[in-house]
């Protein structure tokens, strides 16, 4: 029975991947070092749940220990909503740990979201988006 559900989930996933409109007007590979990973930990300033891309803004130290305002790019509001997330999923002041691909321009202090964890209540996301 489990196998039936697994197959059904794969079929639905593949069908959705082919049909759900996505918004990606810039190239991720041109914007981020996709083969690198960076982790930042700090307090959330703002969660922009929007199109074309959602953003998590975070106050967190950089590799030198200096506090920076980070912009972490996430999926579009439409994409995240299909993954069960909403505009109220994160709030200002939340302490979170984010892992992502660092931006090519270091002055931007930006990441492309790979995972986010909120230790306080165990909230976690490590999905994918285009």
């Amino acid at each position: 029975m489990k196998r039936v559900w697994l197959v059904a989930a794969i079929v639905v996933g593949v069908a959705q991947a082919g049909s759900v409109p996505l918004m990606a007007h810039h190239s991720f590979a041109a914007t981020y070092f996709e083969d690198k990973t960076q982790t930042i930990e700090g307090d959330l300033i703002q969660f922009q749940f929007r199109n074309p891309h959602s953003y998590v803004h975070l106050q967190a130290p950089d590799e030198k220990g200096e506090m920076q305002r980070w912009a972490v790019e996430w999926g579009s509001g439409m994409q995240l909503s299909t993954q069960g997330l909403s505009a109220t999923a994160l709030k200002a002041g939340d302490h979170v740990v984010i892992t992502g691909s660092p931006g090519r321009n270091p002055d931007d202090h930006r990441l492309r979201m790979k995972s986010i964890v909120r230790p306080k209540d165990g909230f976690k996301w490590n999905g994918t988006f285009s």
Partner: protein
Amino acid sequence: MHRIRIAQVVAFAVFAMLLSVPAFAQTDFSGMWGQRYYEDQEERAPGGELGDFTGLPLNDAARLRADSWDASLYGIAEWQCRPHSALYMWRSVHPVRIWNELDPITGEAIAIHANFQDLLERVVYMDGRAHPPEEGPHTWTGFSTGKWEGDMLTVNTTHLKEYIIRRDGVPVSDRTTMAEHWMRHGDFLTIVQIVTDPVYLTEPFIQSTDFILDTHLQFVPELCEIEEETDHPHGWVPHRLPGTVHDSDDFAKKHSLPAEAVKGGAETMYPEYRGKLKQVKP
């Protein structure tokens, strides 16, 4: 008497057929068309890598601009909600809804509309009108006219804005013109683009893109909102000074390709170049 009746039936049948066959449009492109990444998935979905100029007949000026281009441009407020221009929109992740605009009297298709998720709506005029004069406004859609060549729709577009031809910053100028061939084979739509730019391309750039008719596709408009994305002062313009970055070299190294080959140019597009590649060290 019997012969006359048969002739009447045949005449009626022919008349009925004439009434039911569309008189003007050879192919109906109406419908929702979903993207199919049979080719160039990486370029169309997440976006290609920096410095990948392979297959592009670009010149040195285009190469210089591409090497100076910074993808962070899309993060500034003025750029966040820019649509792709008509020449790139086919290569985007957006589906397209196509419909005919009919003359209410004659039923003739006087225009064909192509709407890309409400981000860009192109109008292809089929009524034989002329293109605007050279000094006419340049827009993201450009100005398009179409004509039938058998079952194939050929669209000519002028008056485009300057844009990119690939999402790693390779530019095309506002003097770019584009011929498109729209072809339908059953539920498949193939768009062949022939892009000509006297400023940045040394010869026409040709590519094809595929779609499939999808009657279940939900056409969800994506309202774009402008927000401050990064912590830069207002007026900051992302850029990279020539010579300060070597992304094209990185791309070549990553894929074990000669740096010369990934820098593009018309010569690199043709099979004869393989012979030259054998003499070039990666």
